[in-house]
């Protein structure tokens, strides 16, 4: 893995795109050049800032522009993410990254990206990269309800692809769970990112159909570079493995799944 970059980056824009959801664009040309889909960065405010977020927060690199912009999908879960949602153009943040293991985009099969909620983020970056490489990609995106849905037009503008939208209450797109939209007949490769119950269901589906699946996991993180061992997930062989350096993307057979 290349040496991570440590830079201050300027906020270019931060637009609220849905309830508690922002699309944050930063001027970070070196990150844009170095990042690969599935990698993340740590974003923080430095040591003079004792309010949340004091610790930097991990975010999937959610997109890159040809002009050195990167995009992050921010959803409010607490004080730290609320502060990130309140960022204004011209403010600056501290970035560390790109970090972690990226997705491995298959060359020989159709690819189905399954996104739950803010788990959409890595696919906004991955889908256009995969399309550019000639892959046959589809993007399934699920939310609880219409007010949470990240603007479908913006998704299309960023990725070049229209997402197939699902809401649990049927208030936008198709009613139901995003998993309902997966067609396994041609044995696609699956990529997943989203809440743990969604990833578990997706893993079961992949296991039943014997499909390859890579998931991007999320766990509380301290350092982002493997020193603190805070961000562990259970591996298939029963160890706690660091999601920052051994992940955040794992092949499903590497992880332990409850049965």
């Amino acid at each position: 893995m290349a040496r991570p970059l440590r830079r201050r980056a300027r906020v270019l824009s931060n637009a609220q795109t849905a309830a508690g959801t922002w699309w944050l664009e930063l001027e970070a040309p070196e990150f844009a050049a170095a990042a690969r889909p599935g990698q993340f960065l740590m974003i923080g405010f430095g040591l003079d800032h004792l309010d949340a977020p004091f610790l930097p927060r991990p975010f999937s690199i959610g997109w890159r522009g040809s002009d050195g912009r990167i995009g992050l999908l921010v959803r409010e879960f607490g004080g730290g993410t609320r502060r990130l949602g309140a960022l204004r153009r011209g403010e600056s943040v501290l970035l560390l990254g790109p970090l972690g293991r990226p997705f491995s985009i298959p060359a020989d099969r159709r690819l189905v990206c399954v996104a739950g909620g803010v788990g959409l983020a890595p696919f906004l970056f991955l889908v256009p990269e995969a399309l550019r490489g000639g892959a046959d990609v589809s993007l399934l995106y699920g939310e609880r309800s219409a007010d949470r849905v990240f603007d479908p037009d913006l998704i299309e503008r960023l990725t070049g692809l229209r997402a197939e939208l699902f809401t649990e209450d049927g208030s936008a797109g198709r009613a139901g769970l995003v998993l309902d939209g997966i067609d396994t007949v041609d044995r696609p490769a699956l990529f997943g990112c989203g809440p743990t119950p969604m990833l578990r269901a997706l893993e079961r589906l992949a296991d039943d159909a014997d499909l390859d699946l890579e998931v991007s996991v999320e766990e509380h993180m301290g350092c982002g570079v493997g020193t603190c061992q805070g961000c562990v997930v259970r591996s298939a062989d029963g160890r706690w493995v660091k999601s920052c350096t051994e992940g955040p993307v794992f092949e499903r057979r590497e992880l332990a799944w409850p049965r």
Partner: protein, 318 residues
């Protein structure tokens, strides 16, 4: 002591002789926040600072605690990693060689943990003839495993443990004390009398964070250790208490994120300091604190850093 000008000819000398060797800087990285050194080698110029203390090493590998292991608290963090580590054999085979090959001037202390005095002694005996480190930091103060503070809160057990480790090595033995005792000076004296070469004050404070919506502890281990800027004044005070109780060198730890913070520990009596949680926020903090201390010494009336150690002037004896 005779201060030595550091390479590069900076006017202010931060160099001190501690534990019989030269420390080019008082700034070390704290155990548990810098892995085994290698993890931070791309981000921190490790060989330009005083050194580092490794993640705790136990005789056998330990799996660690279930997640969440870390969470933010006001002005800091809570952690309960549970001493996950590769164990003595792999540490010696895989981690020490990197330290031996890559650190020339920075000093390394190996943090040692055990459930029994025998286990502490076994780790020390198993490492003692290896290269790549100066001495040991004996961890009697981990709040995140059962019995982790057993030795650190029982003066009799602490005395026996330190004496036992003392017989197992000629290398420097530093004892990392818990803040969770009514009189840290007592524990400092116990360590001194049992043959310790130094003290590290302090480890984290036990704490708990509750997710109100889910009515569950945030941390998988239920409780954890609190670190970060929130604990700075407690660390400074307990370092002052420990340093005035003994003549041993003391390493000040707890909430340091600036040269000013580090200097508070030094004035309270610390010869060296360790930076921990702040590294996660900004890895540059280590070298910045080093430079900030140098700048302070240069503009102060002190000829060298050592003159500032314990130089706080208190109005009356308390």
């Amino acid at each position: 002591m005779a201060p030595v000008s550091p390479p590069g000819g900076s006017a202010a000398s931060l160099s001190q002789t501690v534990f019989g060797v030269e420390f080019q800087s008082p700034v070390l990285l704290a155990s548990g926040t810098c892995g085994y050194g290698e993890e931070y080698s791309d981000l921190i110029p490790l060989d330009e600072i005083g050194g580092l203390v490794t993640k705790a090493v136990s005789e056998d590998p330990r799996p660690g605690n279930p997640p969440h292991r870390v969470a933010e608290t006001p002005g800091g963090m809570i952690n309960a990693i549970g001493l996950q580590n590769v164990g003595l054999d792999r540490f010696r085979a895989e981690k020490l060689p990197w330290l031996a090959a890559n650190l020339r001037r920075a000093r390394v202390l190996v943090n040692v943990v055990g459930r029994t005095a025998d286990e502490f002694a076994a780790v020390v005996a198993g490492l003692d003839d290896a290269d790549g480190f100066l001495g040991y930091e004996i961890n009697v103060s981990c709040p995140n495993v059962e019995g982790g503070t057993l030795f650190g809160t029982d003066p009799g057990a602490l005395s026996k443990l330190v004496a036992r480790v003392r017989t197992a090595t000629e290398r420097p033995v530093v004892v990392k004390l818990t803040p969770n005792v009514p009189d840290i000076g007592l524990y400092a004296r116990v360590c001194e009398e049992a043959g310790a070469d130094g003290l590290s004050t302090i480890n984290t404070f036990p704490g708990m964070l509750i997710d109100v919506e889910r009515r569950r502890p945030v941390i998988g281990n239920t409780s954890g250790g609190i670190s970060g800027p929130a604990i700075l004044p407690m660390g400074v005070y307990l370092t002052w208490c420990a340093a005035r109780a003994v003549s041993l060198p003391v390493i000040g730890i707890g909430g340091i994120r600036s040269a000013n913070d580090a200097l508070q520990y030094i004035l309270a009596g610390a010869r060296l300091v360790q930076i921990g949680t702040a590294l996660f926020v900004d890895p540059d903090v280590a070298i910045e604190v080093h430079r900030g201390i140098a700048a302070h010494v240069e503009r102060s009336d002190a000829a060298c850093l050592a003159e500032l150690v314990g130089a706080v002037e208190v109005a009356a004896d308390v």
